[in-house]
Symmetry: C2
Subunit: 431 residues, 2 copies
């Protein structure tokens, strides 16, 4: 989208070019920075300035805005950053794409996925005060296109960097399927001696309220300053810009299409919060760092499906998927129910060799198939109760478990055993 006629006229009048330094005053707020290119996804009434702290900011221009040209070319003076000593530890940043990756291509401001390793580091100057960064780009795709091979690549590369001495890995990732990827990495990287932290961004670079930089910097601080060593997702903790939440990779779900605090820990507390100004607080137990090596177990059975039960779901329509898949995760209603006719179809599929795991579309709470007859029937038939696992995590886990063993009892046992924090302790059922 191009500029509005009003902004086009204004820029022409100022004779401002990209790279020139502008001042924009909106009411009491003044921004001084370098004019960045306006890209196709920017709103027409927004101009993008690169501030002296390295951030890009999108500023809405109205007729009451005051815009002046400060100098041709970049601003001479750079506000000094607060002094901080790098830990000397090396953090590996493995780019995969998504809004956060495109975001940090600050030279163009474009939100299509395109970045180099150098850009990624250069875009977040603070991170170099925290640690040495080794940034690489594994691939650059929207996360809705993330597939099993991508998960495997990330797991192998992360294991490699950690075994080579990195203090941890940051995985910038599109937010759409970040919860699936974090669960996959958690199962693939079992004996993780150093943390793997997925970070994303819900706001692209032409929005004043971007979350990309703070999430990246918080991930680096979390890796360097704590002894936690699991696969985590780190995203804004609230819609305000004050802290990030560190979620366990198997317990986290994107619960909002657009909010910065879209990610929620489900059936589990947030593991830690990282205050943007200060400390890091833990709210749950976690696995500690060690000096051992990690061996990525990346094999996955891909013939697995995730199906949500709904009233009117027809056994004949879903029969083939149930019978021809190696594994199926159902998100049933309530405690883990389906209609009687679907229950018959599922039982028949289980008898035919399909591993079926029952979770709940409620998302919150625990399944319990022992309350009603139909549930008990499913258990008798061999349906595996998913405890309080997210349907998405159960799906990823089933893919991984089916690649480890083909023994039905062993599959059931592994699915019902807490391997990576994906199953919470059973709470008092009276609650």
């Amino acid at each position: 989208m191009s500029y509005s006629p009003f902004i086009s006229e204004l820029i022409k009048k100022l004779d401002a070019k990209e790279g020139d330094t502008l001042s924009v005053r909106n009411g009491e707020r003044e921004y001084v920075g370098t004019l960045m290119p306006h890209h196709e996804f920017s709103l027409e009434d927004i101009i993008i300035l690169k501030l002296s702290n390295g951030y890009n900011i999108g500023i809405r221009i109205s007729e009451s805005s005051s815009v002046t040209l400060i100098s041709k070319g970049a601003a001479k003076e750079k506000k000094p950053r607060p002094e901080q000593h790098s830990s000397g530890k090396t953090v590996s940043v493995l780019g995969t794409g998504g809004t956060i990756a495109s975001y940090v291509d600050y030279r163009t401001g474009a939100v299509h996925p395109a970045l180099s390793a150098g850009d990624l580091v250069a875009a977040v100057p603070e991170i170099k005060d925290i640690c040495d960064v080794k940034a690489e780009v594994l691939f650059s795709i929207f996360s809705e296109n993330m597939n099993v091979e991508n998960w495997q690549t990330i797991a192998e590369e992360a294991a490699d960097r950690i075994n080579a001495g990195a203090e941890g890995c940051i995985i910038p990732h599109g937010t759409d399927t970040m919860g699936y990827t974090s669960a996959a990495l958690a199962f693939m990287l079992g004996d993780l001696p150093k943390p793997v932290v997925l970070v994303g961004a819900q706001r692209s670079s032409d929005r004043p309220s971007s979350d990309a930089y703070t999430n990246l910097v918080s991930a680096a601080r979390f890796i360097v300053n704590t002894d936690a060593s699991e696969v985590f997702v780190l995203m804004h903790a609230s819609s305000s810009d004050s802290s990030a939440a560190v979620h366990r990779g198997t317990k986290v779900r994107k619960m909002h299409t657009s909010r910065r605090d879209a990610f929620k820990s489900v059936n589990s507390p947030v593991v830690a919060t990282v205050d943007f100004e200060g400390g890091i607080d833990f709210h749950a137990d976690y696995r500690k760092k060690s000096s051992s090596k990690v061996c990525a177990q990346t094999e996955m059975e891909t013939n697995v499906a995730l199906l949500q039960y709904f009233p009117g779901m027809s056994p004949s329509v879903f029969s083939r998927i149930l019978h021809e898949s190696s594994g199926v995760v159902i998100s049933g209603t309530g405690l883990g129910h389906v209609s009687s006719d679907m229950a018959e179809e599922i039982k028949s599929a289980v008898q035919g060799g399909t591993s079926v795991v029952m979770t709940s579309q409620c998302l919150y709470g625990r399944t319990n198939l022992n309350v009603y007859n139909t549930g008990r029937d499913l258990i008798s038939a061999g349906v595996i109760p998913g405890e309080d696992m997210l349907p998405e995590t159960a799906y990823v886990k089933l893919m991984w478990v089916l690649a480890q063993t083909s023994d039905a009892d062993k599959i059931s046992e592994m699915m019902r055993t807490n391997l990576r924090g994906e199953i919470s302790d059973r709470r008092d059922i009276s609650e």
Copy 2:
């Protein structure tokens, strides 16, 4: 489950029989009531007393409990209920089954579905102080077995009672699929002149913290004392026993497997809260009562499926469902995305005549297919954006819309138009 050996011994020692009056003291709390039968779903350390106010209560018995026999046979004195004048209005109660229906079969305490119209009224004496109740049982099934024909029956019977002069209908319903049924009734009962309120219970009769009675009584109060006339779901507002939330039938979802406040309004405020001790507060606009008649439009296209997208979803596995269904609702990732290969399959299905609606598995927030190329491609191919509709509501709506018209443009227009509060106003996209 039978009593624990400790309770069995205690009851034997007291020579207490079902129907005798007992006192149970746990610490400072004392309960006096009639001993009820212990049923198969009761916990072994619980005894059930019918209190003088008509409620059944389950009391946990430990070695520190003091249990005494007050009298053989039922207690003589009945605590008088607070005086209240019935409004003289008639509320129709149409039982459909579920925990709430079985619950009110107070004579046996059983949680399997079994009740008569008389039981339903007798079990909630307070309701007769609020209105005249005409209670009937339409059927008695667990809600996971609720199907389209059941929705049609409920809609027709509710319309009939309202047209015959009822001030409103209360539909006791199993909680598992209550949100689907409420959405179906909302679409079927368009010009509703009196409210239809679905109520359920998350706690069976052997739990001290039952919610069935309070939900039923609150529904009666809401119908009689307000001028709101939509299809609503009324359930506990919090885990404490203080108020009920009245949710719009198209915006509500069961979000917890077991909590009493499992139901949440998604992308919409709760319409009203009913304080158990006092007033009724509204938090949103609502449709008003009128004196017109309602005509139930119950036709539904049943060849519709609801599919959640997941990474690794195979176009070939889901091709048949996409192509052979009349309509499919996808719960995509984030703003409404699927992988490129699934997008191709969906486009091909749309070209073949399948109506496809895109919603988000995030549940919260609004879909937006205009941000990325793949989304714009889907829109161009004719995929219908689901706005901020719940996937479950979009599924029910699509069944209903496909029964109204077979014209693709009209289907798309109806799906994108807010008919029953199922689509919220677009908020500021900067938020």
